[in-house]
């Protein structure tokens, strides 16, 4: 089968940076580099904001509208009746869950602070210390949800590789995969639209870092 583009550069970069930053966030908090942990969270926030916008105006395989589908499509996919590129209807559920739980994790982190009150997310001052105490527990709990979803994600990739003989990791690096001719082609996004999304994501992140002051 001929190889063709399936993931554009912004999608691939966002994916691997998210993976690296989530690992770094775990490491930095485990080894008491809370300041690095907070900045890592801000970087993840920027990536999520970017990805959210790119999911509306980006390439065809990046767009939520093109891969978020109802249960009917999932059932059809499971029956082997799906031809397409990008996220499969089942994979899309996994990606949505990962995205959502990561959004929740970063959102909780913004309001989190440590026991001593020495380190605080940029929005913690908006809530009472009693409330941020609860948020700390939720931030910890939600990380296990995230870890579980990451485990599922990796297990699924291994399953496709070992049982179904389908390589999913390489296309996420090179952007290209062998696809069915009937599956259609990826319609790329525009580079300057990506730059605008990135600029907006940075601007919103800076505003959050400043404690989300009123305009």
């Amino acid at each position: 089968m001929p190889k063709q583009r399936v993931w554009d550069l912004p999608v691939r970069l966002t994916h691997w940076l998210l993976a690296a930053l989530i690992a770094f966030s775990w490491w930095s908090v485990k080894y008491d580099h809370i300041d690095w942990h907070i900045w890592s969270g801000i970087a993840i926030l920027t990536l999520l904001l970017f990805r959210l916008m790119w999911g509306v105006v980006g390439s065809s395989t990046a767009r939520f509208a093109n891969f978020v589908r109802g249960p009917k499509h999932v059932v059809r996919y499971l029956r082997g009746d799906w031809r397409g590129i990008g996220h499969s209807p089942l994979g899309a559920l996994s990606i949505l869950a990962l995205f959502l739980v990561t959004v929740v994790q970063v959102g909780l982190g913004l309001f989190n602070e440590d026991d001593d009150g020495l380190f605080a997310g940029p929005l913690a001052n908006h809530l009472s210390p009693d409330t941020t105490d609860k948020i700390r527990d939720l931030h910890e709990f939600n990380f296990y949800l995230l870890l579980g979803l990451i485990g599922l994600h990796v297990a699924a990739i291994l399953y496709y590789r070992l049982v179904r003989g389908k390589k999913l990791t390489k296309p996420m690096i090179t952007g290209r995969a062998a696809t069915d001719a009937a599956a259609g082609e990826m319609r790329p996004g525009k580079w300057w639209v990506a730059l605008i999304c990135l600029a907006v994501a940075f601007a919103i992140s800076r505003w959050v870092v400043a404690g989300a002051p009123p305009f």
Binding site: D115, D116, P129, G211
Partner: protein
């Protein structure tokens, strides 16, 4: 020199409690650990109150003073919070055994915290916002210096 003196005094107080006084009963030890836990937790909470005020558009000085006075009071109480025998061997605690293995260093760090707590409270009473902010940064450094070496991650 003054710091060294205090460190020595602190050391004597810490280790002395173990030798001079009768060993603590289990109940006494646990009672102190409970008081220590509650006190530390309250210091953290008051610290958050101060930060909220200091970053607010118009800080409420009365709230700051209430919090810094409480921190200063707890910091004085802290001299009695670490008698020998109140480590992890007795009960659940974030206090590391190193506290009693390096009493001189620990005593010095505890003393630095007590000095910073009084200075912060004095600045709050005087009411100059910039001075309060500077002393607030100081006290945070003393909390961290001690916790980095002598406290484990304890989740409650």
């Amino acid at each position: 020199m003054r710091n060294l003196l205090f460190a020595v005094v602190g050391t004597v107080a810490l280790t002395g409690a173990g030798f001079a006084a009768k060993p603590l009963t289990k109940g006494q030890g646990l009672a102190i650990m409970h008081e220590r836990h509650e006190g530390m937790e309250d210091i953290g909470k008051q610290n958050k109150v101060v930060r909220r005020e200091l970053t607010a558009a118009s800080p409420n000085l009365a709230a700051v003073r209430g919090a810094t006075a409480t921190i200063a009071r707890h910091s004085a109480e802290a001299s009695h919070w670490f008698p020998a025998g109140t480590g992890p061997e007795l009960g659940k605690t974030g206090a590391k055994p190193e506290i009693w293995q390096k009493p001189q260093d620990f005593g010095g760090k505890l003393h630095n915290f007590q000095v910073a707590a009084r200075a912060l409270d004095a600045a709050a009473k005087a009411g100059d916002l910039n001075a309060i902010k500077a002393r607030y940064a100081d006290i945070g450094g003393t909390c961290k210096a001690c916790h980095d070496s002598y406290r484990t991650d304890m989740h409650h």
